[in-house]
């Protein structure tokens, strides 16, 4: 039987993969997807804790995270499209107008 430790290790590995992708890739869309990967791994940990503690609050929290993630993606992709109109590029190192 898979224990809580299994789930914690799995979700921390997935979070690590997402973090690696987030800091090492330059394509803005892949950065988004890495952020989604991290959000998902945290959701998995919440559901696992909810199951092993028999507490429904973890699942409620996960559904709130879904709503916040949907809002984040909507606004984030809108910002990305607006940036693309100016820079004609999705490489995050090209978005350097505030950098000095």
């Amino acid at each position: 039987m898979a224990t809580l430790t299994h789930y914690i290790i799995l979700s921390s590995i997935l979070f690590g993969i997402g973090a690696i992708g987030f800091v090492s890739r330059r394509n803005a869309l892949i950065l988004f997807m890495s952020a989604e990967l991290m959000l998902n791994s945290v959701n998995l940990m919440l559901v696992a804790f909810s199951y092993f503690r028999a507490d429904i609050a973890g699942q409620v929290m996960v559904i709130f995270v879904f709503a916040v993630a949907a809002a984040e993606v909507a606004v984030g992709l809108a910002i990305l499209i607006t940036l693309f109109r100016h820079v004609r590029e999705v490489d995050v190192t090209k978005f350097n107008i505030l950098k000095w």
Binding site: A2, T3, L4, T5, H6, Y7, I8, L10, S12, I13, L14, F15, G16, I17, G18, A19, I20, G21, F22, V23, S24, R25, R26, N27, L29, I30, F32, M33, S34, E36, L37, N43, L44, V47, S50, Y51, F52, A54, I56, A57, Q59, V60, V62, I63, F64, F66, A67, V68, A69, A70, A71, V73, A74, L77, A78, L80, I81, T82, V90, D91
Partner: protein, 168 residues
């Protein structure tokens, strides 16, 4: 039921690695889709059927379609097919950071897992009626705040994408 966890855990990790390493953004999105489905399967295993349904319909359905739509919109294949690659220092820093994170959690797990004793599940745990009860009794205010957040995000997205919104 041990094999069930291992199959989907391995699928999730492999698809996650594929998501962050592949050159094409579209292949990356397909890897992410696989991760979402594997997560949904694990949620079913953890007595969270409603969360699994939301995972498939919201993440694999709505959010991923939005991401694929933007990939199609912004990245013409002949123009920038996977030309964006990070340099070596970026990558090694990222891998180092990720491994530190995983190591940190692995050290923390030892102390946490002892504290968390397994409890027996009540009847109907994770069923829509129990979850709905929790939502509309204990978390009603939070629910309303989230609905306002979604409305604000909707308005923000429309405003940002409007033509001439950010004209100099």
């Amino acid at each position: 039921m041990d094999w069930y966890f291992w199959i989907f855990a391995v699928i999730a990790v492999l698809a996650g690695i594929f998501t962050v390493t592949t050159r094409e953004a579209l292949s990356s999105a397909m890897g992410l889709l696989t991760v979402f489905i594997a997560h949904a399967a694990l949620y079913l295993h953890l007595h969270a059927p409603l969360v699994a349904i939301f995972q498939v319909s919201i993440y694999a359905g709505a959010i991923l379609v939005l991401i694929v739509f933007v990939i199609m919109l912004l990245m013409a294949p002949e123009e920038r097919a996977g030309v964006i690659q990070a340099n070596v220092s970026f990558r090694s820093f990222g891998v180092l950071l990720g491994l530190c994170l995983v190591g940190l959690v692995a050290v923390g797990v030892k102390s946490i897992a002892v504290l968390i004793a397994r409890r027996s599940l009540p009847d109907g745990f994770g069923s829509p009626s129990v979850l709905g009860d929790a939502f509309f009794r204990d978390y009603l205010l939070h629910f309303e705040v989230v609905s306002v957040l979604l409305l604000v995000a909707l308005i923000a997205a429309i405003y940002l994408c409007k033509k001439r919104a950010w004209k100099h």
